[in-house]
């Protein structure tokens, strides 16, 4: 049962990932990306990452993608979706695509090569990954990184307000 759910969620993730990079209209890409994040949330749950699955759905599929939607609607207001003609491609673009595909195929091949090492079943995961577990760890052992994330967000907020201010 868990296998079936995992396969469906992984298939959803991959198909929606392809839709994100192939959709002509960025709006369709945003919707596909939300579906992709929902699938990833399911995968995280199956991996005992309860809190991680929650923030994936709430922060990513919710907040971040709403931000994307705002910008897509803002930039596309009154314009046709951009046409990306095949004739406009840079000569180096195809080369780069081949290089990237080659490197990443090698990466996937490496994962397959070390498959035997990693197919040993993980140790008992009964008590692992609960929100209680995560919260206790976040607020004791990893207190400093947690507080530093607040600093990162503060810097981002100040930066955005500075960039978006009215210029006289």
């Amino acid at each position: 049962m868990a296998n079936l759910i995992a396969i469906l969620a992984a298939a959803l993730c991959l198909v929606m990932g392809v839709v994100v990079i192939s959709a002509r209209n960025p709006m369709h890409g945003v919707i596909a990306l939300v579906a992709n994040f929902l699938g990833l949330g399911v995968l995280f749950l199956l991996l005992h990452g309860e809190f991680v699955a929650l923030i994936e759905v709430i922060v990513y599929a919710g907040a971040v993608m709403v931000l994307f939607l705002f910008v897509v609607t803002l930039l596309m207001a009154g314009t046709e979706p951009p046409k990306e003609g095949a004739g406009k491609n840079l000569p180096g673009q195809l080369l780069w695509a081949i290089v990237v595909i080659g490197a990443l195929t090698a990466l996937i091949g490496f994962v397959l090569a070390v498959r035997t090492v990693l197919t040993q079943p993980p140790p008992s995961t009964q008590a692992f990954g609960s929100i209680t577990d995560f919260g206790r760890s976040l607020l004791t052992t990893y207190m400093l990184p947690f507080e530093l994330t607040a600093l990162v967000l503060l810097a981002a907020v100040i930066g955005v307000v500075f960039l978006a201010r009215e210029r006289s």
Partner: protein, 101 residues
Amino acid sequence: MTLPTVDFLLVSAVLFAIGALGVVIRKNPLVMFMAIELMWNAVNLTLVAFARQFLAIAGHIFVFVVVVVAAAEVAIGLIVIVLVFRNRSEADVDSLNTMKG
């Protein structure tokens, strides 16, 4: 029945490949940005998979940090895109060659 870690790593690798390919072949900055989000999340999947393999909650903490940094990056990146394209109608990163050496 627990699923082997390697299957999650495979999904993650393919997802990262899709994201990297998207950054390379697309010219619309918004779509490139979404492809970068795909890569962030492929890495997150790897972290969570290894956290279960080694029973290390630190992997989940790291994912939390990644999500926060990604949210900050999205906010900054999108405002930059909006500012750049406020005065331009075309959405093509190849036309942004002012700083080309």
